[in-house]
């Protein structure tokens, strides 16, 4: 019997297991109940905590505005779930259709949703990583420990890696009047996400706020004293810095190890799934009973050349979880694609940074509103003559407009009158991404529908 044949029975008495009890897992569970799913629902989480919100962990919590344990997510509704918290999933048996937990229990499922997210990339040297004073920041416990350390008044903090998390940590340090050095291998902070033109502003923000920012260098070794406490860091330019705290913020690794041997297309880049969140197996055949959502998923997006996007974004976790939940208990023709336009925010050095679209695809950039020199602007990214992304510094209210431009494939550079435009005709420049390899195909696709829940794709035939 095909899985679609008896969706009503599945909704009534099916067994759904969600592995990963964070933002995506929780929102998916709520959506399932909203849709009238009355079967058994089990949430598995390796941390002993109910779902909590991660963005405050590098902001409010480190600033001392609230304790890390207060970040539990609000609930949209009761979900009547069986919670298995504090125990990780260990393996998946697709033939037997059950998930094996680390304590040996087996959880049978009719539908499985994988929302295992990511973990912080650890320092490459295990002995150095174990030194007292070396931190990563991903979980509630990480944040609580780092927050206590910052409150104790360290002499100098070293932040290794100036992505968004690292830059936010440096910002908090300065706000707490803690001396901080940031070591970044690239020429500027945030350069991988926004390109060097915009990243130059991020670098200026750091230096203006008293960060000892060192770009173009990497940390080669962390040195401890005899008691195992961090005391010095060595850099690739031959210099050394005395530090008592180092925060390793070198990005994230997808939590897919537990799926090795499962036959699913899961690896370091995430779990490949189709636009409806159904997971592919290693043969490229789509499963119909296993879904993925959130940071761990990677799925093709028509607006961005059908590239498989994997997005570590709060908003993506929410949207994709809802799509996955809907599709898990819907018959084929009723299923929806995940067509969310990527967007994220960051707060650092008192500036609100927001982005919509995929800046890294940009081959050109204009400052459409405001000015780089004022640290208040909108940078619009173009890809082969159409708008592909926008990033704003303290100008977030304009991004909804640029989202529409991206969704409708508007031409680039923008040629209409703008509020707060500084030049008659902005000259496009190279956004200067460190790795500018770009895809070669470009479908013309328009997102249509009256609300996000009605989104669908409409293909526009090319003119002869």
């Amino acid at each position: 019997m095909s899985a679609d044949a008896d969706v009503q029975a599945l909704r009534r008495k099916g067994r759904i297991v969600v592995v990963g009890a964070s933002l995506a897992g929780l929102r998916a569970a709520e959506t399932l109940r909203d849709l009238g799913f009355t079967g058994s629902l089990t949430l598995v989480g390796d941390e002993p905590y109910e779902p909590y919100d991660r963005p405050p962990l590098s902001k409010q919590v480190l600033l001392g505005m609230e304790p890390a344990e207060d970040t539990a997510l609000p609930r949209k509704r009761d979900i009547d779930a069986e919670w298995r918290l504090g125990v990780a999933a260990a393996s998946l048996d697709r033939a037997a259709k059950h998930v094996r937990l680390a304590n040996g229990d087996a959880l049978p499922y009719d539908r499985l949703l994988i929302t295992t997210g990511t973990k912080a990339r650890p320092w490459f040297h295990p002995e150095e990583a174990a030194l007292d004073g070396v931190f990563v920041l991903r979980t509630r416990d990480d944040s609580a420990r780092l927050s206590r350390k910052l409150a104790a008044g360290p002499r100098r903090v070293l932040v290794i890696g100036a992505g968004f998390t690292g830059s936010e940590i440096a910002s908090v340090c300065r706000e707490r009047d803690v001396e901080v050095t940031v070591a970044e291998r690239a020429p500027a902070p945030l350069v991988g996400a926004l390109g060097e033109v915009v990243a130059t502003v991020a670098a200026r923000l750091q230096r203006d706020h008293g960060v000892d920012l060192r770009c173009g260098v990497s940390v080669t070794a962390l040195e401890g004293d005899q008691a195992g406490r961090l005391r010095r860091a060595h850099l690739s330019d031959g210099s050394a810095i005395d530090v008592d705290v180092a925060v390793v913020s070198l990005g994230a690794i997808r939590n897919t190890e537990w799926l090795s041997g499962s036959g699913l297309a899961a690896g370091p880049r995430g779990i490949a799934c189709d636009a409806g969140c159904r997971v592919f197996d290693v043969n490229g055949i789509v499963t119909d009973d296993i879904y993925a959502a959130g940071d761990v998923a990677r799925s093709p997006h028509p607006l961005f050349g059908y590239q498989f996007l994997s997005l570590e974004h709060w908003g993506n976790a929410v949207e994709q979880a809802q799509i996955a939940a809907h599709n898990m208990v819907s018959a084929g023709p009723d299923r929806r694609p995940h067509l969310w336009v990527p967007m994220f925010w960051s707060v650092q050095f008192g500036v609100n940074i927001k982005s919509v679209g995929v800046p890294t695809m940009g081959d050109q950039l204009v400052i459409a509103q405001g000015a780089l020199a004022e640290e208040r602007f909108v940078a619009v990214y173009g890809y082969r003559g159409r708008v592909i992304a926008a990033a704003s510094f303290d100008s977030g209210k304009w991004l909804g407009f640029y989202q529409q431009q991206i969704e409708t494939g508007a031409s680039f550079p923008p040629d209409y009158a703008m509020v707060d435009r500084r030049t008659d005709a902005p000259q496009p420049v190279d956004p200067a991404f460190p790795d500018p390899r770009l895809p070669t195909h470009e479908p013309t696709v328009t997102l249509t529908g009256h609300s996000p829940t009605e989104r669908c794709v409409q293909f526009i035939a090319p003119r002869a």
Binding site: E47, P48, Y49, E50, P51, D53, P55, P56, K59, Q60, L63, M65, E66, D70, T71, A72, L73, P74, R75, K76, R77, D78, I79, D80, A81, E82, W83, R84, L85, G86, V87, N103, D141, A144, R145, W314, G315, V318, M343, F344, W345, V347, G350, V351, N352, K354, R376, D394, S395, G396, K397
Partner: protein, 75 residues
Amino acid sequence: MRLVVDLNRCQGFAQCAFLAPDVFVLHGGEALLFTSRFDEGLRDQVEQAAAACPVQAVLVDFSDEPAKGAEGHVG
């Protein structure tokens, strides 16, 4: 009571920061910071703030259903 703000939606109108200043604060000109947990005594303020948000970015708890089943303590 718990809350979360969808900061993709938030455009810094700051209505919440006026209505519930103990819970929402502007950080710089545009960025919003909030405390995720608030006292029952602030509930009216927070609900007013959520209702006043022009982009409806504030989500307040609709359920305090406990999450049973923690299998041990880490950290």
